[in-house]
Subunit: 189 residues, 2 copies
Amino acid sequence: MIDILRQHIIGRLGNDIDNLETVLNYFKPLSVDRNQYLVKQGEVCKYVYFIAKGCLQVFVYDNEMNETTRDIVTEGTWCSELLSFGSGKPATENIRTVEPCELLAIDKQSFQMMVETIPQFDKVYKQILETSYANSVYRINTFVALSALERVKWLMEFRPKLMTRVSSKLIASYLGINKDVFSRLKAKL
Amino acid sequence: MIDILRQHIIGRLGNDIDNLETVLNYFKPLSVDRNQYLVKQGEVCKYVYFIAKGCLQVFVYDNEMNETTRDIVTEGTWCSELLSFGSGKPATENIRTVEPCELLAIDKQSFQMMVETIPQFDKVYKQILETSYANSVYRINTFVALSALERVKWLMEFRPKLMTRVSSKLIASYLGINKDVFSRLKAKL
DNA sequence: ATAAAATGTAGACTTTTGTCATTGCATATT
DNA sequence: AATATGCAATGACAAAAGTCTACATTTTAT
């Protein structure tokens, strides 16, 4: 399992990293059932997770406990409530497993030790932050002006695998449209 | 004008900074007319701007040249297409003055020299990035699930000054709703 | 100061989206 | 195996949002 992370890091920083194996030892492998919370709104996010296998939902609750999903994240990527992880302040979002997952978790202390051990690793946090920011910006610029139908088309073009992998309910909350509407629009296409 | 930036930096890093005045000298003051582009989609963003006075619009064009506004930024804050500035890749967004502006601009070379001169300044980039990310996340989680009316209410609660300061057209493109709808909803409240 | 251009509002109408109730199906639970 | 639970699809209807036109007003440019 750890090999997936090894490949990921080599892909980003190159394979001339001295203490790569030491670094990898900082990560704790976790097997998690589906529908388990990794992060809860209001609590501090203590880990950054690398998803070796599975799928996570990043979302918030509104007043009526409806879910709005900001992101659906699958294997080969990082996931965390970064701002809480970085600052130690309460998280503003929830993260929950959508499927049984294989995760590699690193806590803040280890993360900081890692940064000291391997100067290059400082870049990783920055890279994750920049990627996260880029995704958010993209999402705002893409979604805000799109109609429900256009959002569905977007999904089918750019994240087609999600259509079959996760529930319609989840996708609807990701697209910001009603689940009944989503069902109808799918039928239309 | 430079004093506004001085105060801003002191407010963030404290006033025990050795070379503060040297740092401030890196910034070029700019007076810009309204409706001038600071950054264009497709071109590289070469500066980070501090807004001493005025108002900027951060937006994208869609296929029909409609504008979608991701942010409206006023004095006392930083503004840039950070990802382009950081990577040297083409910008994905446009930035344009909404009013005549007094800006303080710093280019990348100066920015990097500054980071070397004042180690603390490394934090500034990270802070700007984190703040930008936090804003984006907030915006997604807030807006995606809100109706047009709720978005207008949100604006009146959290950014009431914009209502009188900038055009309804601009606000509508910021809220992601039609300008006629925006006009009607305002009348309702 | 004046003309030109852009903006804001309003009404009538169309289209899109949301809500609710119903049904069938699949998946857990005991 | 029987029951409960959650999810997806559909129809009927209500509500919201978008479009288009017209017109008044404000702002900008000359």
